[in-house]
């Protein structure tokens, strides 16, 4: 069950703080359906370091949510992990901060096994997208949280209730003693999202997976929730995988960014590199095409031509090539580019940067010019 970590990519692997908490290697998860196979996640690799926020950004159908579900082994029945490794540094006793650790290969565990069920909630917790759907309307929010605590911790029901009230208070819910006995439909959107976060934090997980946690709520509430998540993350040194399609949220929250498109990683690297020195044509075009509150009104935005391919009709080669401004016939449509390092910690999967072709610096300038000409 236990595997060892290869000393890879990160230069400082000596101390434990630089040892990834979670490592996803070449993960592939496909949906097998009557109409055909959908390669929803097709070779995704990334590391989550302790206390860091990894932002996974991509548009609909890019496989960001399926990646998360594959990590937790909560895929739909029609989907299966085809290959790849997900290695978690798991504490033997999740309630003890100095607990010895073991390496667990999550993809090898049966989805119903005792081991993965123990990991879900206590080691890796999930903040789901829909705060309304995540709570059952016939139970109080408190009973959900108490159930989680009783499942993972050796405490009595009264103690569990106390812990739940404390967690409620820590996520900024006023009057936690009363609110804990409320039903989810009695709470406002912001409070419901806070209650979800409280439930996720109740067993002190070291990794939080937040799947579009602020998509369904208003901007002012979103700002409150983002601020809360950042505060909790700094206080508890929790790692977060933050899944979103909103580049603004990514820029505000993430340390590392993984840009996905049709099940594949297009580019990954430190947040500053991605936003200031994006190398992949998709990342560059995406950043340029988003309207910003800081831009001048009524100017035409540079756009990305075409639309996202249907999953049954995936392009050959690089999945982005039909929409790419730098499409090279016979290269991009023939083979899938591999992730290539272009800078410290930054990787790009694009033939423009593969070692045989020209140096990345030369490509940067025409890349910007040609996309702007198209507006």
């Amino acid at each position: 069950m236990s595997t060892s970590f290869k000393p890879a990519t990160q230069p400082n692997t000596s101390s434990l703080a630089h040892e990834p908490l979670l490592r996803v290697e070449d993960l592939k998860a496909y949906f097998f359906m009557d109409e055909g196979t959908v390669r929803a996640v097709d070779g995704v690799s990334f590391d989550v370091l302790p206390g860091k926020v990894v932002g996974i950004v991509g548009e609909s159908g890019c496989g960001k949510s399926v990646t998360m579900k594959a990590i937790l082994q909560i895929l739909e029945p029609s989907a299966r992990i085809v290959s790849g490794k997900v290695t978690l540094r798991s504490r033997l006793n999740s309630q003890d901060p100095n607990s010895p650790e073991e390496l667990v290969e999550l993809t090898r565990l049966h989805p119903n096994s005792r081991k993965i069920r123990k990991i879900r909630g206590s080691e890796i917790a999930l903040i789901p997208q829909e705060p309304m759907a995540a709570f059952s309307p016939v139970y109080t929010v408190g009973s959900h949280i108490i159930e989680t605590i009783l499942l993972h911790q050796d405490v009595s029901k009264e103690e569990a209730r106390k812990i739940a009230i404390d967690v409620f208070r820590s996520v900024g819910i006023s009057m936690p003693e009363q609110r804990i006995d409320a039903y989810s439909w009695e709470l406002s959107g912001g409070l419901r999202q806070r209650a979800i976060i409280a439930m996720a934090l109740s067993c002190n997980p070291r990794l939080l997976i937040a799947d579009e946690p602020t998509t369904a709520i208003d901007v002012t509430t979103q700002a409150q929730i983002l601020k809360l998540l950042r505060k909790l993350q700094q206080e508890r040194q929790t790692s977060i995988i933050f899944i979103t399609h909103d580049l603004g949220v990514i820029a505000q929250m993430a340390d590392e960014v993984v840009v996905m498109y049709l099940g594949m990683v297009m580019e990954k690297g430190p947040v500053h590199q991605i936003f200031k020195q994006a190398k992949h044509p998709y990342t560059q075009a995406l950043l340029r095409s988003i309207p910003s509150v800081q831009s001048t009104p009524r100017l035409k935005l540079p756009t990305i031509a075409g639309s996202i391919a249907h999953p049954f009709n995936r392009p050959t080669g690089c999945p982005f090539h039909p929409r790419c401004a730098h499409f090279m016939r016979g290269v991009c449509d023939a083979n899938q580019p591999a992730l290539t390092p272009v800078a410290e910690g930054q990787f790009v999967s694009c033939f423009l940067y593969s070692s045989e072709t020209m140096a990345p610096v030369d490509v940067q300038t025409p890349a910007v010019a040609s996309t702007e000409n198209r507006q």
Partner: protein
């Protein structure tokens, strides 16, 4: 209503910028029933004394968080809902001004073709059993164009106008992506050459890379066809991008209305300023910009006293708790409803030169 509105004709002398639509003290209350006799116990004041105007050929954005009444207001204007009270003045091409709020079904018929809507959900707003031709040509047929050949020609022109190939006419909506469907919805809205197009969150259901395409198309069409847009949205970045003027709503009331650039750079209402500070900026160097507004949006069924925003406002004084502020013009074309608008120094959003192309 404020004097500013009455003087509107005076200040905006050029004929091109006459108001096409003016809404005065619009109210829409939804009753809350209780008990077996369905007694009315209270009202949800979805739209509560709202006044604004839209000039010909411009884009006015109605902005606010969920429950602020922006969609209800737009539906009252289209007369999909009957307003509780207030006036909706619409100017026809021959300069006649009519109050839509007073008209019945029959009276409205003449105006229906002049006001069209683009819907939020491109999946729910197209009938899956109708072909694209049927969807776009239905308004033409209803309005007297019975020859199929003529309709085919017009649908082909409309499809070309929105950037789709006319050959797609016989396909069904399921064959199209979200962005393409939204283009079909736009083609249908434009079929009868409307003068006012109400777009209710037209890009919020689309992917980021497709949003820009649809926004650009809407800007193009406005230039080409001299359309007037009432753009209902919650996303401030999209609003900044598309609109000439912005009208910010909070719990059924207009809090501020001004030209886009002025509103973003120098907001005068604390709520507008807070709303803008809450938008996450896509720049990792400007991280501390996220400032949160405490508390929750007030309930329109049970709004606070005085200014509806006072429980969340850091500048609230006694007068804010007792007196409801009126919308007034504090500088030309800049309307605010805040007791302290003149004295407050509020931070806006700096314009990013890098982004302004």
């Amino acid at each position: 209503m404020s004097d500013g509105m009455k003087d509107l004709e005076k200040q905006t002398s050029p004929a091109s910028s006459r108001p096409l639509l003016e809404v005065r003290s619009l109210k829409k209350y939804f009753p809350i029933h209780k008990g077996m006799m369905r007694k009315v116990v209270n009202y949800v004041r979805a739209v509560d004394d709202v006044s604004f105007f839209v000039r010909e050929g411009e884009t006015l954005a109605l902005v606010g968080e969920s429950g602020c009444g922006k969609t209800t207001a737009s539906r009252c204007i289209l007369r999909a809902l009957a307003p509780t009270s207030g006036e909706i003045l619409f100017r026809e091409a021959d300069d006649r001004v009519t109050d839509l709020s007073a008209l019945n079904r029959r009276g409205l018929r003449r105006f229906r073709s002049q006001m069209q809507m683009i819907f939020q959900d491109p999946f729910g707003s197209l009938n899956p059993r109708m072909t694209i031709f049927e969807i776009i040509s239905e308004p033409l047929f209803v309005n007297g164009l019975h020859s199929r050949a003529d309709r085919t020609d017009q649908v082909a022109d409309l499809l070309k106008l929105v950037g789709l190939r006319p050959e797609y006419m016989q396909r069904y909506p399921h064959a199209f992506s979200g962005g393409q469907r939204q283009r079909i919805g736009i083609a249908r809205a434009l079929a009868l050459h409307p003068r006012l197009v109400v777009a209710d969150e037209p890009v919020s259901a689309l992917d980021v890379s497709v949003q820009a395409q649809v926004l650009n198309l809407m800007l193009d069409l406005q230039e080409k066809l001299h359309l007037t847009y009432l753009f209902v949205a919650h996303d401030l970045s999209v609003v900044k991008h598309i609109s000439d003027r912005v009208c910010v709503m909070y719990v059924g009331k207009v809090v501020e209305m001004a030209a886009t650039q002025e509103l973003f750079q120098a907001p005068r209402h604390p709520y507008t300023a807070a709303l803008m500070m809450a938008v996450p900026v896509p720049d990792p160097d400007q991280r501390n910009i996220i400032q949160d507004l405490p508390g929750e949006v007030a309930s329109p069924a049970n709004p606070p006293s005085g200014c509806y925003f006072h429980p969340r406002c850091q500048f609230a004084k006694d007068v804010c708790r007792t007196e409801t502020p009126q919308l007034r013009e504090i500088s030309p074309d800049h309307f605010v409803s805040c007791h302290r608008a003149e004295e407050l120094q509020l931070a806006g959003i700096k314009e990013n030169k890098e982004h302004s192309n």
